[in-house]
Amino acid sequence: MDMKVIIDTIWVLVTAKLVFFMNLGFGMVESGFARTKNCVNILSKNFIVFAVSSLGFLLLGWGLMFGDGNPFVGLKGLWFLSGADNSPASGAAYQGVYSAISWTDVPLFAKFFFQLVFCGTAATIVSGAVAERIKYKSFILFSFIMTMIIYPIVGHWVWGGGWLASKGMFDFAGSTVVHSVGGWAALAGVLLLGPRFGKYSNGSINPIPGHNLSLATLGAFVLWFGWFGFNPGSTMMADPQAISHVAVTTNTAAAAAIMSSTILSWLMLGKPDLGMTLNGCLAGLVAITAPCAFVSVGSSIIIGLVAGILVVLSVIGFDKLRIDDPVGALSVHLVNGVFGTLCVGLFAQDKIVGVATGNGLFYGGGSKLLFAQLTGIAAVGAYTFIVSFVTWAILKATLGIRVSLQEEIEGLDIGEHGNSAYPEFLIRKPSHAFLGIKDDNL
């Protein structure tokens, strides 16, 4: 058996496992950033969402994303990976209906598992932004549609040999395909849900502190760790130069973003806010996700620094716009997903680890690449936002997407699950915890 196949399969599976592990990271960051009374609900959403993705992506998602078809959607071998496929045969030797991903010499199931964990990430991003008010049932249904249809179609455009790929758009590990798609879907949900009760009462913005910063920090570390699977793994082949380069650009961008977000929050708010530092880390990781294999380590520092600044400003900005995102998912994944995709057009250096991207604007490549990136950002944004909006709207009109006001005040844990996360700990009573309610007359 060909050694290269064995090695590449190990690499793909090991990195895929790390990406799977990011589910834990998201779960802890998001529950840590939410209130005790909604903790069980968020844990449940983040736990079940990967189960939903696993079934949705298996059933149809994979086929739509990688099946041979037209530039807009896969058409062959749609259901259940049922299409012909002779992987790990690759390149010219490949025979099957999933040719868009036939460049890597690993078995079909390895390809599937790796792509699945990415699909799951996109779905889990939504969870945080809609937290503390969404109906469990409706979230589950949306996640099914997200992983069966919404995500795979964009995936087809960029990674499935679709029209954006042909346009020369590059998104190495998914700043656009995964993160901004998750972000756009979340934004649509947030707009239809509206802000949490008391968040913006009589004209003032009422901060609603998360209940557990230890969990949130734990989650951020786990995500940082998982990103070493997310980005280096996206080679889907163990090319030593590439994977080492990506590991370093990824980590360096995160480090730079941590510093810039911390320092900026220090300057703006007088004290270094841990919540901002954690969001900063994630922002840097999201921003470097698209360009990690196309830019130098030097560029990764700049990208990280900017990402850290962007996240602080947009967390504050979304609040000013009365867009209530309890965990900062929009600032992290949407804003920096877009920014990171742009960075390819700005900082790319042709063949820096082998991929012929051409040079970005700052490296004399002119605006060609940048333009392709912009096209991708715009198209994916428009498509994802609209389709998600419609999906959310239908759910709203049918099942409803928001819990009752009373349930929201008493907490979704009791209302949706009949559980409480910490039944023995003495917790400040809802309204208490609910600083927003202060200037509010129920």
């Binding site: 005040i409 009791i414 009949g418 559980n419 409480s420 039944p423 003495l426 400040r428 009573k429 809802p430 309204s431 208490h432 609910f434 309610i437 202060k438 200037d439 509010d440 007359n441 129920l442």
Partner: protein, 112 residues
């Protein structure tokens, strides 16, 4: 001096608190308690078994006031704590024999 002890709904605390402020009574103590009365407790579940939590979360607000202010302050509390639903709570009034301010050691009505 009288001590007013009001058992209220947690979600009414903020309103009561600001009303008391406006009523010119700034000094108060807030205690997290659990109450039992006509109001029913909530049913929860744990891995297959349901169970009832009989005690419902309440807030005890205590404030010591001059005899003259009593009526006014009672009204402020009742107006802001009332929802009309069972579980709104009770107010109890005690007589206080004396009060001292630790910082200064002074004694009597003056301290409140």
């Amino acid at each position: 001096m009288k001590k007013i002890e009001a058992i209220i709904r947690p979600e009414r605390l903020a309103a009561v608190q600001s009303a008391l402020g406006e009523a010119g009574c700034t000094g108060l103590m807030v205690t997290e308690i659990e109450g039992h009365g006509k109001q029913k407790g909530v049913v929860q579940q744990w891995r297959g078994e349901k169970y009832k939590v009989e005690l419902v979360p309440k807030i005890k607000v205590e404030t010591v006031v001059k005899d003259g202010d009593l009526k006014r302050i009672l009204k402020a509390i009742i107006d802001n704590a009332r929802t009309g639903e069972i579980g709104d709570g009770k107010i109890f009034i005690y007589d206080i024999e004396d009060a001292l301010r630790i910082r200064t050691g002074e004694e009597g009505e003056g301290v409140i």
